[in-house]
Symmetry: C2
């Protein structure tokens, strides 16, 4: 698949079938992660591919709990009226509910782990939330999702399970010094899967030389 | 360009020519950022494209200072012997020195900004460095770098300028509540540019169901 076609049709797909993923397909998706750049080429991430039905059931119960807590405000909004915002909220709630109620059935959940001791986190001491450690992990996460797109697999980047990190680490025997930062269910889509996406136009996201100055070409 | 070809040949290219980037090429690179997924599809990032020669010169002086501080240990190692580690360190130092000494000449430096208030940072309260905010920015960063690969543009993800964040923000009029998290010089390569990469084999990065368990296919 052509690069820009993959990028421009990569959707968050939350309704996934339980059908197994062929070994060679999964291998290509994981290889894509390994190709990603990282600070100093250290590759400070590991992926635990969760396929065990029992472990997925346990993880689903934690996910449901966090999802319900997270979505409560939007759920109220969705049921409050029938205006555009409420209808859109309703769609998000419905797709998310589906994932929360079926997470245990996915053929694979990719749990991305990272080791902060292997990272140069240059914004660690700034007076704002640090994100730079993510620069050596989410590049690989994006590669994985683009590879899923290419392979016809649905996927969605979730991070709600960070609220249950200690429990997840215990369940998957993740060592003390490693954290988790992305939990990506993958599987063939129930509905159409990937396709058109809605994003802001580039002109709203890009400036030239100073904040607020449009990128006008000479 | 085919997706896997782009991913598997995306190198950190630090020697960049000053030749201008055609407008349509730059537009496609920036469009790739806009396509990236983000938490709640909020797109909590902006990109300041720095082309001003004067601003680039100022930024180079800050970058040189941080690079020299960062690379000092490796510089000592590189000059200490002629074994493999020292030779490899020497190559890294040389390419990095080139970038530090020529940053002001690149046709464009992409400064990625993010607003933590627009992010659900689910690992903010954990007893380890937070990275989850990066999940809504470095997906776009990776798209940009893959697009550069497709367009024949060299690029490299740098984060050292976070040490100079207040100064950068002032120079580029970045509002108080926004941070910076990636500073990506782009331009046509001086040497061969992208090509073969060296990464760990997937088997070293991936486990099945439990940490340390190999992903063996049934």
């Amino acid at each position: 698949m052509e690069l820009y076609e993959a990028m421009s049709t990569l959707r968050a797909v939350r309704r996934l079938r339980s059908d197994p993923i062929p070994d060679d397909v999964l291998d290509r998706v994981l290889q894509a992660a390994a190709w990603a750049p990282s600070g100093g080429n250290v590759q400070p991430f590991r992926i635990v591919v969760v396929k065990s039905a029992e472990k997925l059931k346990t993880i689903q119960s934690w996910y449901q709990q966090e999802w319900d807590r997270y979505i409560e405000p939007l759920r109220s909004l969705a049921s409050s009226s029938d205006d555009v915002a409420a209808v859109n909220s309703g769609k998000i709630v419905k797709a998310g509910d589906y994932l929360a109620n079926h997470l245990a059935e996915v053929p694979a959940l990719l749990v991305f782990c990272f080791n902060p001791a292997h990272m140069a986190i240059t914004d660690a001491d700034l007076n704002r939330p640090s994100v730079v450690g993510g620069g050596s992990v989410y590049t690989a996460v994006q590669n994985v999702m683009l590879a899923c797109r290419q392979e016809g697999l649905g996927c969605v980047l979730t991070t709600l399970l960070c609220y249950q990190e200690q429990a997840i680490k215990q369940l998957l025997d993740i060592p003390e010094q490693w954290g988790t930062c992305a939990h990506i269910p993958i599987g063939y889509p129930v509905l159409k899967g990937h396709g058109p996406i809605s994003r802001r136009p580039v002109t709203k996201l890009v400036f030239k030389d100073s904040w607020g100055q449009p990128l006008e070409h000479s």
